[in-house]
Point group: C2
Chain length 172, copies 2
């Protein structure tokens, strides 16, 4: 859960501001109830502070809702429903946007930056993505990219991608 909280921070925070054009899907696969999607909508999000406790508290609040296939909003900008990786990947494909999957020793992000505008980025947590999940993701033919020569925490990866996207907007 700590990992997810840090990812929320790096995806959504600017200094004294929030990234209103970012949407984060957390896919929770742990017991007791595997298969839950919590979505943070930067555009309408409220009550989020940069510390881990704050995002953790919003996630916990969402998990107290009656969770079904129909999404419900737990606090402004935080939505929860049942779901799995395949459902998410189908929805991502339906958007028509470029999908990116992060992996070590692949094409460097700086060589792919021109494809990233409005992109969707898939990350594993610190346990990584298992073989079946990676096979499923590969079926959607994502661009597979690397962020540098070393293996990084997921939240640090998100910071690097946001910076690359920020630079894109300026270059336009």
């Amino acid at each position: 859960m700590d990992v997810l909280c840090r990812c929320i921070n790096s995806a959504l925070f600017l200094s004294h501001d929030m990234r209103r054009d970012v949407r984060v899907h957390l896919l929770l696969l742990g017991d007791p109830d595997p298969g839950i999607i919590v979505r943070f909508e930067g555009s309408s999000l409220k009550y989020l502070n940069p510390d881990e406790r704050s995002s953790g508290s919003l996630i916990k609040k969402s998990l107290q809702k009656n969770i079904s296939d129909i999404q419900v909003q737990s606090t402004p900008g935080v939505w929860i429903r049942k779901g799995n990786l395949e459902m998410l990947m189908e929805e991502f494909r339906d958007t028509g946007r470029n999908i990116f999957y992060l992996k070590e020793d692949e094409i460097d992000i700086r060589a792919s930056a021109h494809l990233m505008d409005d992109g969707i980025f898939i990350f594993g947590d610190d346990m990584g993505v298992n073989e079946d999940e990676e096979k499923l993701i590969s079926g959607y033919e994502p661009y597979v990219i690397s962020l540098g020569p070393l293996s990084l925490h997921t939240d640090h990866c998100i910071t690097l991608i946001n910076n690359e996207l920020d630079r894109l907007v300026v270059d336009k």
Copy 2:
């Protein structure tokens, strides 16, 4: 304190590993006892986990020591002493290393990367650096660099700099 804890995380953590070649100086200027330097030595650091609570706990432990001008080690890799910005800047200059100061709308980091090897990087917290402090820092003629078009949290800035340094090592 939350800000400092997040900075410790982004400065020192790799996925399942630690950056053993990083040294972090935290300059604490808040009440009740302004003018304390807590130093994290990546090379010898122990008992640090990626969550904010963990770095917070190591900082708190260090603050329980008898703090004087002579540094003492509170836990492996964490040192504490009295000190101020001018003392730190003098010590940094004496190393002969390049000093970098982060500021918006300056020369982009990617244009300065070749100067960064073994560099020393000065960050303000989320309240920024005040006028007197900036004047003092400027006296040491740092390279003044930017990280991108938007204003970012200090911990996110550190992640971006570490990535740029990682890329330098590979380019060597």
